[in-house]
Symmetry: C2
Subunit: 363 residues, 2 copies
Amino acid sequence: MSFRMPGEFEPQQAAILIFPERPGSWGYNAKPAQKVFAEIINTTARHEHVYVAVSATTRPTAERLLDRENITLLDIPSDDAWARDVAPTFVRDSESGEVRGISWRFNAWGGTYDGLYAHWERDDAFAEEFCRQAGFPCVSAGDFVLEGGSIHTDGEGTILTTESCLLSPGRNPGMTKEQIEQKLCVMLGADKVIWLPRGIYNDETNEHVDNVCAFIRPAEVVLAWTDDKNDPQYELSAACLEALENCTDAKGRKITVHKLPIPDIPVRVTEADLQGYEFEEGEDTREVGERLAASYVNFFFANGIVLLPQFGGENAPSDRRALNIMKRLLPDLEIIPVQAAEIIKGGGNIHCITQQIPEGVKL
Amino acid sequence: MSFRMPGEFEPQQAAILIFPERPGSWGYNAKPAQKVFAEIINTTARHEHVYVAVSATTRPTAERLLDRENITLLDIPSDDAWARDVAPTFVRDSESGEVRGISWRFNAWGGTYDGLYAHWERDDAFAEEFCRQAGFPCVSAGDFVLEGGSIHTDGEGTILTTESCLLSPGRNPGMTKEQIEQKLCVMLGADKVIWLPRGIYNDETNEHVDNVCAFIRPAEVVLAWTDDKNDPQYELSAACLEALENCTDAKGRKITVHKLPIPDIPVRVTEADLQGYEFEEGEDTREVGERLAASYVNFFFANGIVLLPQFGGENAPSDRRALNIMKRLLPDLEIIPVQAAEIIKGGGNIHCITQQIPEGVKL
C-alpha cells in the first residue's frame, strides 16, 4: 500500500462543512454566517457531494436553507464550524484507491498555551466521528497536534506549512522540527516539507499556511502579497517569498510564485460586529478596530470550481483584482466569487470552513 | 510510507494481554485461569515489555500475581480476555520505522448471526483505547469485521487465513472474497492471501487460522494434524494440507509444511468444569463432554521464546511430542511449555490471549 494526500485541485468525491452556530464566532445568532455557509454548500453540491455536520439546534435551519440534492446532513457534535481544522485529512492508496481519513489531535489552535477556546473535546473527536458515520477508515495520529489548515500539499510528495504555527509552543513542544517533518511525511505519504516562516498578520491560528500560500498545481503557488512596505503584512509576505525562491519541491523543481494582493483596505471589526457576539468564559474575544486576517488565498477548490472570498464595500476593486488574477491563473476552472465578509468575522475564510475528500473507493 | 505487518517471529517491543474475569469463560471466579495468565505474563516480561489490561475488579489480583518489572497495567474495559482478537494488529513503516495499531470492527465472532456473546461494545472499543493509552497511532478499518486470530503473516507480503471464518455470514456478508482479500492487503501492506478451507474441529471462532496453522519463518508453517481417519479433525487438516501444497506465497515460493499432531486424547468439558461457569443471557454455553479445540499450533512467539500449550494428564505424551517437534524446528529459540488446560476451557489458547507489538518507533 502507498497512501498519499492528493492535491486539493485533484478530483474530489465530496466536501465536508459544519453548519455554524457558536455565539462567540458568529454574531447575531449566526444568521448572517449561516446564509453564506448555505450559499457555499449549495454551490459546491452542484459539483460534488457535500457532508454537512449539524446539531439539534442548527438542523432545522440547515434543512430550510440547503438544497436537497447531493447534500447529506450528519449529526456530529462540534465546538465550532472549522471543518478544515477538525474534519479528517484524507489520504488515498495509489494501488487500491482506498481513501482513509486522518484524525489529528486538535487543541483549539494552541491548547492552554494560546488556544482560542477553553473546551475543544467535541472538535477533537470530530474527525473520528465523521469517519464512523460516513463509513471511511480512520487513522489516528496519536498525540500529534495539527489542524488541516496548517498544511497544503502538491499531491506529489511536497507539504507546505508555516514555522510560526507548527513550531508554536501550543502545538507539539516536545518535538524537534525534524521530528515534525518526519511525522508529516509518514502520515501524509510525503517526501519533503517546505517551511514558510510566517503567515497573515494577526491570524489567530498562529498563521496557518492556508491563508497565505496555496498550490494551484504542482510547482506553482499563489502567495498573499502587498507592495505597501508600511503594511505589517509586507515583511511576512516578503519572508515567505524569499523561502519559496530558495527552495525546491519533493521532485526537485523550483516553485513558481504568483502574487495575490490582499485587500487594499484592511478589514476590521466594527462596533456593530462586536454587539452581535456572545463570548464564553475562557474564549478569545474581539475588539473594535481589530484587523482581521483577510486574504484571497483562503479559497477552496471543488471539482472544476474555485470558491474565492470577496470582502465587498470599499474593497470591491481589490475583490475584482483577485478574481481576475485567479481567472488568469486557472483558465480551465470556474472561479466563483463569494461575499465572505461574514466568514472572516468568525476568524477564517472559505478554505477554513471546508475540507475535501478525494476521489477513491471504500473497500 | 510503506506499512506492513511483521511476522510474529520477528523482533518485538511488547506484548498485550487482558487479565481474565468473565464468569462464562473462566470457571471458579477465574482463579485457575488467572494463575496461568500470570505465569505467561511474567515469563514474557523477561523477554519484552508486557501491557496488561485490567478492570477495577482484577487489578488487585493482577498486582499480587504479576512481577513488577517490565509490566504496565492499563485500565481498559473489555468484555473478555482475548487480546489477540480485540487488541490492535500492528503494522510498521519500513522507511521511518513508525508502528501503528489497526482497530478492526469486532462483533464477538459472528455478531447476531453466530456470535458468542450478546454485548461486545467494550471489546470493539478496546484497540482504539489501547492505542490512546499506550500512545500509538491507530488506524480504524471502518466497518470491516476481523479478529487478529483469524490472520497470520510471513512478514513478507503473505497473509494466511481460513475461508470458514472470513467468509462466514457473521463477518462481512456484503463483501466478496476478492474484496476481502483487497481489504486485508491494503490494511496489512500485503500482496497475497492464502486461503485454508478449514480450521480446528469444533473451534467456536469459526475456525481461526491461529489454532490450525502458523508460520514459523517465511515459506514454512506448522499444521495441526492427526493420522486418525476416524477423527473429525482428519478431513479438516487434510483439506488445509492440500491447499498449502497447491499454493505459493507472495514471493512465489512453495510452502514447507510441518505436521504438528493434536493431542491423542480429545480434551473435553468435564462436569467439574461446568459447575464453575456462570453464563449470561445471550452467551454461548458449554456442555459436559463437549470437545474443545485443543491444538499445539496456538503458541506465541515473544522475542527469542515460544510459549507452547500443554494439556497435561493423559495427554502428557502428546505434549512431549509437540515440544520435541517445536524444539527441532526452532533450534535457536527457547521453547517454553505452559500448562494451558485452564485456557483452552475458556475457548482459546496462548496465541488467542496474546498480541505482539513489533519493534519500531513512536514518532
